[in-house]
């Protein structure tokens, strides 16, 4: 197995693992956040606007970790620097 095959294989497997593992934490966190926000709205419907806005901002914060993982896996697949280096050589 030569170097370019190894790099390609490692990149693809790592990209899949990155997004798979990286999606677990934010999914659990977002589920918890939405559940809490829903029960808060059920208890205090008057504060709906504030809760919804804070929920969206918080969800964006939580989601950004998953987005980082996604960006890393996209970089590994589309613009992999090691792969480009091997191809250019």
């Amino acid at each position: 197995m030569d170097n370019s095959t190894l790099i390609g294989m490692a990149s693809i497997i790592t990209a899949g693992l990155t997004i798979a593992i990286g999606a677990i934490g934010p999914a659990l966190g977002e589920g918890r956040a939405v559940a809490q926000a829903l029960s808060a709205i059920a208890q205090q419907p008057d504060e709906k606007n504030t809760i919804t806005r804070t929920l969206f901002v918080g969800l964006a914060m939580i989601e950004s970790t998953a987005i980082y993982c996604f960006v890393i896996s996209m970089i590994l697949i589309f613009v992999n620097p090691f792969w480009n280096y091997m191809i250019a050589r």
């Binding site: 606007n49 969206f56 901002v57 964006a60 987005i67 996604f70 960006v71 996209m74 589309f78 613009v79």
Partner: protein
Amino acid sequence: MDPMSLKDISPDAVILWQGKGISLNATILFTWLVLLLLTLVSWLATRNLSAGIKISRWQNLLEALVSGIRNQIHEVCQRKTDRYLPFIGALFLYIAACNFLTIFPGYLAPTGSLSTTVALAICVFIAVPVFGVADQGLRGYLKRYIQPNVFMLPFHVIGEFSRTLALAVRLFGNIMSGTKIVAILIAIAPLFFPIFMHALGLLTGLIQAYIFAILAMVYIASATRTQQEKEEAARSQSETTANQTSLDNRKEIGKNG
């Protein structure tokens, strides 16, 4: 004009025209188009404004938009100020327009390129200290960095940079993932499914524009917080006195009745 192929990660890679040492990529072209469109629409809509009862449709639209953004800003920074309206409103309208125009075939959202989102995030990065210093002076602003004690200084500085990075990568990742998923679905199931993902992409685009603007506002509000706390204390005091007077009024009414 052929849209982005599956191999390209951002519209930066789509070179439309190449001159001597200068190349025009899709990001720059569509940014110009969006800016032109926004300017043209606002110019046409604000050409003959009227304060009367009869207003044009476009004025109605712009009034609804501006007052909506204004209410959101007032709710986040909890005081009635219009100082942040131009900056936050421009961020929101620009990102929302960029993301909404993807309904036109052949258009690539400039926000799907890391260069655009980093530029927007750097605008926020510069705007936070500018508004902070303008609000509470250089000393007051810098004091925020050593707030609990001086050991927190590195964490404040790291936080400043990491949230800027997060702001840029979040917008880029969301928009890029939307276009990428549509491109992949067109390759494997081209009949109906890309439409649903495209609709989801429009929703995500609007939410991301909202989140970008709100986060920028939250950061600016946190840099100008001490002022706000002072005002809040004053307001709560006046509120208690107002409550007292209303109670007194009610008592009097009860006495009279």
